[in-house]
């Protein structure tokens, strides 16, 4: 899934990256076919080139390897809202047939069954990025007929409603799942199954979808991931696990240290 997601990214694209699967896919792409990919994280790190995957969106690794570090108001206003971002990369707890996303609550807002983390930067990424990629595991609980909460706009009610609302970004171009890839129908904006991994049965994908899933008439079978890509991804995860396991030690005497400028 991560390899397939990475393959959706063209080289030199400017990519606004969420943490987790999107970050893994972007960094895999940067280490394989897209070395000039520009990664922007909402922590204000522009052009980050992390050696290991960040655990948080604001890891020091991102700042240390970035072309520049700007403030959060700037990254959202000057980069995202100004229209400088080609691809926004998102994930969610729920998605509906028109690519609208929920990362806020399961159940009612006032008294949720599960309180999810919330919107973060997703609503504006979904609005402003020239196009959006979504990566999430497919199940009837996550691919739902009706969202419990509309956190980030996809194609709204479909059939051109998003375009008519004037959104500068075109919306979700692809939803990469553990079964394959869904893309919006050009007229109805409804997500349909366009590609599957080798060995995946269409009925299994339908069973994992909370609405009657349409299948593209030219359904593709995706190539198996290149061993080199898988090796790169495994190496990235291994380096990450190792880096994050290091025990932190703090020297309490730094207060008395001379005025050396940390650089």
């Amino acid at each position: 899934m991560t390899v397939t997601a990475a393959r959706q990214l063209a080289d030199a694209a400017v990519c606004f990256v969420g943490i987790g699967l999107p970050s893994a896919a972007c960094n895999l792409a940067r280490r394989t076919h897209a070395p000039q990919l520009v990664l922007i994280y909402e922590s204000g790190t522009v052009g980050a080139r992390p050696q290991v995957l960040p655990l948080s969106i604001g890891d020091g690794e991102l700042a240390d390897t970035a072309a520049c570090v700007v403030s959060l108001p700037e990254v959202f206003a000057h980069y995202l809202q100004r229209g400088r971002v080609d691809v926004g990369f998102l994930s969610a707890a729920q998605i509906d047939r028109h690519g609208n996303l929920n990362t806020t609550v399961i159940g009612s807002y006032a008294r949720p069954a599960v309180r999810l983390p919330g919107s973060g930067g997703a609503p504006e990424i979904a609005a402003h990025a020239r196009e959006v990629l979504v990566i999430m595991k497919q199940s009837p609980r996550s691919f739902v007929a009706r969202l419990d909460f509309l956190t980030s706009c996809g194609y709204l009610g479909g059939a051109g409603e998003r375009a008519r609302a004037g959104f500068p970004g075109r919306g979700p171009r692809a939803v990469i799942t553990d079964f394959g890839i869904l893309r919006p129908h050009p007229e109805t904006d409804e997500l349909q199954l366009c590609a599957i991994y080798p060995g995946v049965a269409v009925d299994a994908v339908r069973a994992a979808t909370g609405w009657p899933l349409r299948v593209a008439h030219d359904l593709q079978v995706l190539p198996s991931p290149q061993p080199a890509d898988l090796d790169t991804l495994r190496a990235l995860h291994a380096a990450t696990a190792q880096a994050h396991a290091v025990a932190v030690r703090i020297n309490l005497r730094t207060a008395d240290a001379p005025a050396s400028h940390p650089h």
Partner: protein, 280 residues
């Protein structure tokens, strides 16, 4: 800018019922200050933080807060903030009123607050669920007619930041990922800062982020004051602790026990770091 201990700074400047922003985006989260607020049993606070993180999870779980303004409430890279969820889902230890925004809205709100404006503007195309439950309102640009979202300014009673250095005058240097910390500082009525170290001169590059001493109500020297968050150039993020927090905070009893054993039983942050075996 008076230099004082963190316990004096919290005692003098943070009152029950105030709005308190603790900023720092993943980086430079003022954990030591949050713990001191817990130790001093502040109540009915309105906490403001874009990413509540473990610090708000702890303060909410310990009953300091009756309200939270935030934009993303998870344990980054790990999962849920269980104490935050318990407060919202089950009113434990008390009900928590939430004011929820997006990151971009929080940025605009702090920026408006820092700029002496009552509101700021964003592009807006269609209402989301947040627009429906929240306060923002749309207005039309008088020039283009475009629909814009007006976001009400945030001006915390107190903003607390952690930073790398203060000089002898009390000017404070912040290096690295800044989030909306500077805007939160300038928006506040009272600004408290904890720093890793006090130095003779900051020796800051020309366009460094420096908060002038006359904007700051109190500076306290607290090495390691951002742990388990980090201070660029001083120590890295304790990703392992963030992972372990999930199990600590999942159940009420274990959470309370941990807070008692580590935060409440420690006189100050240095003692806490020693108990956690992060410092010698």
């Amino acid at each position: 800018m008076p230099l004082m201990t963190l316990s004096d700074a919290i005692a003098q400047h943070v009152r029950d019922g105030q709005s308190v922003a603790l900023e720092g985006f993943t980086h430079l989260i003022p954990f030591a200050a949050g713990h001191e607020i817990i130790r001093q049993s502040r109540r009915r606070l309105h906490l403001i933080r874009m990413t509540p993180d473990l610090i708000c999870d702890q303060m909410i779980g310990m009953g300091c807060a009756e309200r939270l303004t935030f934009s993303w409430g998870g344990n980054p890279g790990v999962g849920s903030l269980h104490r935050l969820r318990d407060a919202i889902e089950r009113d434990w230890p008390q009900p928590l009123t939430i004011s929820e925004r997006t990151h971009a809205e929080m940025g605009v709100a702090y920026q408006a607050g820092a700029s002496g404006l009552p509101c700021g503007l964003m592009r807006h195309y269609a209402d989301t669920g947040l627009d429906r439950v929240g306060g923002p309102r749309t207005l039309a640009c008088p020039f283009s007619g475009d629909s814009l979202l007006a976001v009400a300014a945030i001006n915390p009673d107190v903003t607390i930041l952690h930073a790398q250095q203060a000089d002898q005058q009390g000017n404070v240097l912040i290096r690295g990922i800044i989030g909306a910390a500077r805007e939160a500082a300038l928006a506040a009525r009272c600004l408290l800062v904890t720093v890793e170290a006090r130095v003779e001169r900051l020796d800051a590059p020309l366009n460094a982020i420096v908060l002038p001493h006359w904007l700051i109500s109190a500076v306290s020297i607290v090495p390691g004051g951002a742990h388990p968050s980090y201070a660029a150039g001083c120590y890295p993020r304790d990703n392992r602790f963030y992972g372990e927090w999930d199990a600590i905070a999942r159940e009420r009893e274990r959470f309370q026990q941990w807070m008692q054993q580590y935060v409440l039983a420690s006189r100050d942050h240095a003692e806490l770091l020693r108990r956690l075996r992060v410092a010698a």
